[in-house]
């Protein structure tokens, strides 16, 4: 029984550490005067949120969606377009974004789920491209140059144009989402989803109308990504078709895998590692000799590409997943 206690304690240690680190980051940033770290932290949390959304259907549900970035775009453009017309209420931004995403996700999900396996992946990718081109075609709203956001979201007294407010709002949204996801995974819906991932054929034979539940899961994951898109727009003060490009969808998948499929905190770990790595390679440098840093700053994408290939070939359960597995328990 002592082993079990040890294991339970360890299982909560890592997430608790991550949460604490994120909660205290702005304090440290202000104290050292390096407010740029706060921006990076916000970016990590935004992408952690998006990855968490994808994780619902990818990590727990085994649906490989290569098109989730489109919901990031919906969230971002909702803010941008409404702001363009002078609306600064965050509540309206949020409601609009969620409404549009729900409608789109239901239709797109229903069409995509008619396909299985490889075809599903490709169709989700095609739909994301569709939205990408749609955004480029919207010349009134910036076209391929994107749209500047002048009025950022205001939720009552909380004005997201203040960097620290934005940070803690993002933090709150991320935490609430993770808690909700934890509950969902252990509720009937979550058990069903995980059952489908493990043995879809058997689920149908038991009497579950599988597609119905997959569609709902897809819509829920889309909504989480939409919220991330809203926060991203507030962070960058910009909405661009590039938010919906295929490589962003691919990046989200990488974040989920890096962190470990099927764990709730995994996406946060994945996002943290990835973005820190990206920042290090492009800005801070690794301290490589012989102009190595400059070379790296030029070609960091290729280097990350190699890393991705390596992770895909060697790591079966991601960074966090590997950590949990070594403790010898189920990743929950």
């Amino acid at each position: 029984m002592a082993d079990h206690d040890n294991y339970t304690r360890t299982r909560w240690l890592a997430p608790a550490f991550v949460v604490a680190a994120l909660a205290l980051l702005p304090v440290a940033a202000h104290w050292t005067g390096q407010t740029y770290y706060q921006v990076i932290g916000t970016r990590i949390m935004v992408f952690a949120l998006a990855a968490a959304g994808l994780n619902l259907i990818l990590g727990f549900g085994a649906l490989v969606s290569m098109g989730h970035a489109l919901y990031l775009g919906v969230g971002a453009y909702s803010v941008a377009i409404l702001s363009h017309y002078g609306v600064s209420s965050g509540w309206i931004h949020l409601a609009t974004a969620l409404a549009i995403s729900t409608a789109c996700a239901f239709v797109i999900g229903a069409v995509c789920l008619r396909a299985t396996g490889v075809a599903f992946i490709m169709i989700t990718l095609a739909f994301a491209q569709m939205f990408y081109f749609l955004a480029i075609g919207l010349r009134a709203f910036g076209g391929d140059e994107g749209l500047q956001i002048s009025l950022r979201s205001r939720f009552g007294p909380l004005d997201l144009s203040d960097a620290t407010t934005l940070y803690y709002v993002a933090f709150a949204v991320l935490m609430l989402t993770l808690v909700a996801m934890h509950r969902l995974v252990h509720a009937r819906f979550g058990l069903l989803l995980r059952g489908v991932k493990n043995n879809e054929r058997r689920m149908r034979a038991l009497g579950f109308p599988v597609r119905r539940y997959q569609l709902v899961a897809y819509v829920l994951s889309a909504l989480v990504c939409t919220m991330a898109g809203l926060l991203l727009a507030n962070l960058t003060r910009f909405a661009s078709p590039s938010y919906m490009a295929w490589n962003v969808s691919g990046e989200l998948i990488v974040l989920v895998i890096l962190g470990g499929l099927g764990t709730v905190i995994g996406p946060v770990v994945g996002a943290g590692v990835w973005i820190v790595l990206e920042e290090t390679l492009t800005s801070f440098g690794l301290g490589l000799p012989n102009d190595g840093d400059a070379w790296m700053r030029e070609h960091w994408l290729g280097f990350l590409g190699l890393l991705i290939v390596w992770v895909a070939l060697s790591m079966r359960s991601g960074l966090y997943g590997s950590l949990v597995r070594r403790r010898g328990g189920t990743e929950r």
């Binding site: 909700a180 509950r183 969902l184 252990h186 509720a187 009937r188 819906f189 979550g190 058990l191 069903l192 995980r194 059952g195 493990n198 043995n199 054929r201 058997r202 689920m203 149908r204 034979a205 038991l206 009497g207 579950f208 109308p209 599988v210 539940y213 709902v216 189920t330």
Partner: protein, 250 residues
């Protein structure tokens, strides 16, 4: 009227006629065994009955209603449950969770996002009861990947029973089992006989003759004989088709 019947059922795979105009009846409370040499189309029949394979022609009638066009999950909810020849359980879950899923399928919808499913007594208690019925209660919280092969087969049956079916389609439940393990399945089926209609596909002849009320013999997708165990045992046609004319005790 029979509980489940197939009429002129045909299944073609390209040029191959796997199921050749079958006419079979399965009665409530009866254990009806389907036997035949390999390639006779026995598993195909189970797949057609459960809905995993769409039929080419013919109809399947259950409780007086034509279910030929119904998908797998709809048939399952009506009471047509199957177990698999190659064990098909949820390896990542515990035994209890496996059966809980089976119970969950028929206890309303699963759009429940907040309450922990494992704490739900209305799901947990029937699940544990079912595990007890097949003799697996002590392994309830053990992950399935740690279970022995025979125990997984028992779990298969527990899950199938948890669906509160009216007809059980059992596809070689004793495949790959030792003598002792097979005997425990036979004992279990003897206990269940009478409560359900059971369609049993099996190669283990001892078990078939111990359990079956009626036997149908399939060869190359056609039913060449149907009758009581005695009739089938003494039928020369069956011996010829099955054993190639050799004299052997069945």
């Amino acid at each position: 009227m029979s509980l489940l019947s197939v009429r002129q059922l045909v299944k073609r795979f390209g040029g191959v006629l796997a199921t050749d105009h079958l006419d079979l009846e399965f009665q409530a409370g009866e254990l009806h065994a389907v036997i035949g040499p390999n390639g006779a189309g026995k598993t195909t029949l189970i797949n057609l009955l459960s809905g995993e394979l769409p039929s080419t022609q013919g109809s399947i009638v259950f409780q007086g209603r034509d279910i030929t066009q119904l998908p797998v999950d709809a048939r399952a909810l009506r009471g047509v449950a199957r177990s698999y020849q190659v064990t098909s359980v949820f390896t990542e879950f515990t035994a209890a969770e496996n059966v809980i899923l089976a119970v969950q399928a028929r206890s309303g919808h699963s759009f429940s996002f907040w309450r922990p499913v494992l704490a739900d007594r209305s799901l947990r208690e029937p699940a544990l009861e079912m595990l007890a019925t097949v003799g697996l209660l002590r392994l309830a919280d053990e992950r399935v990947c740690n279970l022995a092969y025979g125990e997984c087969r028992q779990l298969e049956i527990a899950m199938t029973l948890a669906m509160q079916p009216k007809v059980l389609l059992l596809d070689e439940p004793m495949a790959g089992m030792s003598q002792r393990e097979s005997q425990s399945i036979v004992d279990l089926l003897l206990r269940l006989k009478g409560e359900y209609a059971i369609v049993l596909v099996e190669h283990d002849m001892d078990a078939v003759f111990a359990l079956a009320d009626r036997i149908s013999v399939l060869v190359y997708g056609r039913c060449i004989a149907t009758g009581s165990a005695e009739n089938i045992r003494s039928s020369s046609e069956v011996k010829a088709a099955y054993l190639g004319g050799e004299e052997t005790t069945l």
